[in-house]
């Protein structure tokens, strides 16, 4: 891997934001180094397999695994909420949501 393809702390900051992990400057720097090392080693996967090689997403080739449309057992709201960090009115209470989907 060339110098120019090194991962920068700024890139890691973006990735950390995409994956919702708050990180300190030190962590960003250290991860940038780790990623540069790892990617430098694994980047050659790109050169090994040509266009004619199909991708394998599932190790064992099964297809058409479906279930009948029949209702099964459900959790009660007590069960669902038992582990909730906060709840109210049988619902999960979460902090205010900024930005929307």
């Amino acid at each position: 891997m060339t110098e120019s393809s090194a991962i920068t702390p700024e890139q890691v900051e973006h990735l950390a934001s995409l994956s919702r992990i708050a990180m300190s400057e030190d962590e960003l720097k250290s991860l940038a180094g780790d990623l540069t090392t790892i990617l430098g080693n694994v980047a050659r996967v790109n050169e090994v397999a040509g266009d004619d090689v199909p991708a394998t997403s599932h190790p064992i080739p099964l297809t058409n695994v479906m279930r009948p449309d029949v209702v099964g057992p459900t959790l009660s709201s007590e069960q669902a909420l038992a582990a909730a960090p906060a709840a109210a009115d049988d619902k999960f209470l979460v902090p205010q949501i900024l930005g929307e989907e």
């Binding site: 890691v12 994956s19 992990i21 708050a22 980047a43 190790p59 064992i60 582990a83 999960f92 900024l98």
Partner: protein
């Protein structure tokens, strides 16, 4: 050492069936052993004394009432704490789930409960199964019973240490890149990674979905085979579960013969980076196999050279997605940011910063990068092609061999802290021999092949997909041949522990 904890699972099963002793006695003996040794080993995150004894009592009652019970009923088992257990805290070795009590049951635990195996507890692991030393657990290091200064391997380190430390006769682990086979190798026990889909993943906390597989572990090939038989089978709750009949693994282990079997030694997995002691033990084992009538040939699997690279793209990609759900909204840890506004977004970020360890974060960030727009084809897409090439290589090798063999790991168990000094890639190299099986979905087994400087060496056997039975056909007689040639590896440890 009390005899009950030194017995194999099948010996215990036989004694229970004949009424020689009760399940309560067996279970209590193991609980006592755990109580006496946990300070040394730290194999368990949670010990479930009451639950285990309740199960034991129920099985004893059924037996005295003359009811039909499963062959392994009453034989205790330890579960890696990645297996969901309804009503029993399940942590995945992470602060994130430190207090999570699942409201539902995994298929694995359902089967174990239905068969009446008392569950001794939940064993320690690298956080979310990411690591190969069990040093990445939020619940402290597990120490290798062979030498407490050494790691037990990982991520199923607690499961392996519980076996080697005679705390449990059977363990359930999981193997995503070698997490059952490598700790088995490091502790002188037997660990199996079945064909992908052989054992249901429903209720197994996911690390990398296309690579994860539950693995039976024991102190002998036959014990592991019996546990595999209990756990395997189609599960409609897991879309990737194989619809196959479960063959007689235990029979295969007992009746298999080395004579006439063709063992292919993978050229790429015995060269550079392997400790001399590991190579020597492996070669000696091959000689024993040859002496017992096996034919040894060398096979070339060139794509295996790239397997590690592909694995370190596919695995973190799936990890980054599977671990997204730990966001502090519905269950588990929730942490508010120390400064700035408290919003769903900042709470998620603070929770994940506080709840995940460094190795987990590293893999999430790496996976996020590999899946990002603009990099997907070069990284994730290419890695999936390597996967095809690895499968092709194996298919070709199996066309001329019954099984493939290699050392399970390039080294014996490392000392604590050894990996911290290494760069991440050097660290990942330890998985080089085990990862190809996960990429290809094929089954693998590690059994002890002697000692190197007082630490066990693992011998890995690989079979074609859905041919797990071949592992046992070879491993059963090989284990017997190795034991008659050099003695039982674990006996050395048992004697050592007794001498203490």
């Amino acid at each position: 050492m009390p005899e009950l904890t030194n017995s194999s699972a099948l010996e215990l099963a036989a004694g229970l069936a004949s009424g020689e002793f009760s399940s309560v006695e067996v279970t209590q003996a193991h609980l006592d052993r755990i109580a006496a040794t946990e300070d040394d080993f730290n194999s368990f995150i949670t010990v479930t004394d009451e639950l285990a004894l309740d199960t034991a009592k129920a099985v004893d009652a059924k037996r005295s009432a003359g009811e039909d019970v499963h062959a392994l009923a009453g034989v205790p088992v330890a579960l890696k704490d990645l297996v969901v257990t309804e009503g029993v805290r399940t942590t995945a070795g992470s602060k994130m789930l430190e207090n999570w009590v699942p409201p539902y049951e995994s298929t694995v635990h359902s089967k174990i409960r239905a068969a009446g195996l008392p569950v001794l507890g939940k064993t320690n692991l690298d956080e979310f199964a990411m690591g190969s030393t069990t040093e990445h657990s939020a619940f402290g290091n597990t120490r290798n019973p062979w030498n407490l200064d050494h790691v037990p391997g990982g991520s199923s380190g607690g499961a392996a240490a519980a076996l080697a430390g005679f705390q449990a006769p059977l363990s359930v682990g999981t193997d995503t890149g070698g997490s059952v086979r490598q700790p088995a190798a490091f502790t002188g026990t037997v660990g199996v990674k079945p064909t992908y889909g052989s054992i249901s993943r429903f209720g197994i906390i996911a690390m990398a979905s296309s690579l994860d597989q539950v693995g039976p572990m024991g102190r002998s090939v036959a014990d592991a085979a019996a546990l595999h038989e209990l756990l395997a089978g189609h599960d409609p709750l897991d879309s990737t579960s194989l619809p196959d009949e479960v063959p007689g693994f235990l029979d295969a282990a007992r009746t298999g013969e080395l004579k006439g079997k063709k063992l292919g030694v993978i050229k790429q997995l015995r060269g550079e980076g392997y400790q001399d002691g590991v190579r020597d033990a492996f070669s000696a084992a091959l000689e024993v196999a040859a002496a017992a009538g096996a034919e040894i040939v060398e096979v070339d699997c060139p794509a295996i050279s790239y397997a590690l690279d592909a694995y370190y793209l596919i695995m973190p990609s799936e990890v980054s997605s599977n671990l997204a759900r730990y966001d502090g909204m519905r269950y588990g840890l929730r942490v508010e940011p120390e400064t700035g506004p408290v919003t769903a977004e900042t709470v998620m970020s603070a929770t994940r910063a506080a709840g995940f360890g460094d190795e987990v974060k590293r893999r999430i960030i790496l996976g996020t990068y590999a899946l990002s727009a603009g990099y997907y084809d070069a990284y994730y897409g290419s890695a999936q092609k390597i996967r095809t090439l690895v499968q092709n290589d194996f298919a070709e090798a199996f066309a001329s061999c019954d099984v493939l063999v290699s050392p399970t790991a390039p080294t014996t168990a490392l000392e604590f802290g050894a990996e911290a000094a290494a760069d991440p890639m050097a660290l990942y190299l330890g998985d080089v021999a085990t990862i190809p099986a996960n990429l290809a979905g094929i089954p693998g087994l590690s059994l002890p092949a002697g000692l190197s400087e007082g630490l066990p060496v693992g011998f890995q056997i690989l079979a074609p997909a859905r041919e797990d039975v071949r592992l046992y056909e070879v491993a059963g007689p090989l284990e017997a041949a190795l034991e008659s040639a050099g003695g039982r590896v674990l006996d050395t440890l048992a004697e050592g522990l007794e001498a203490k």
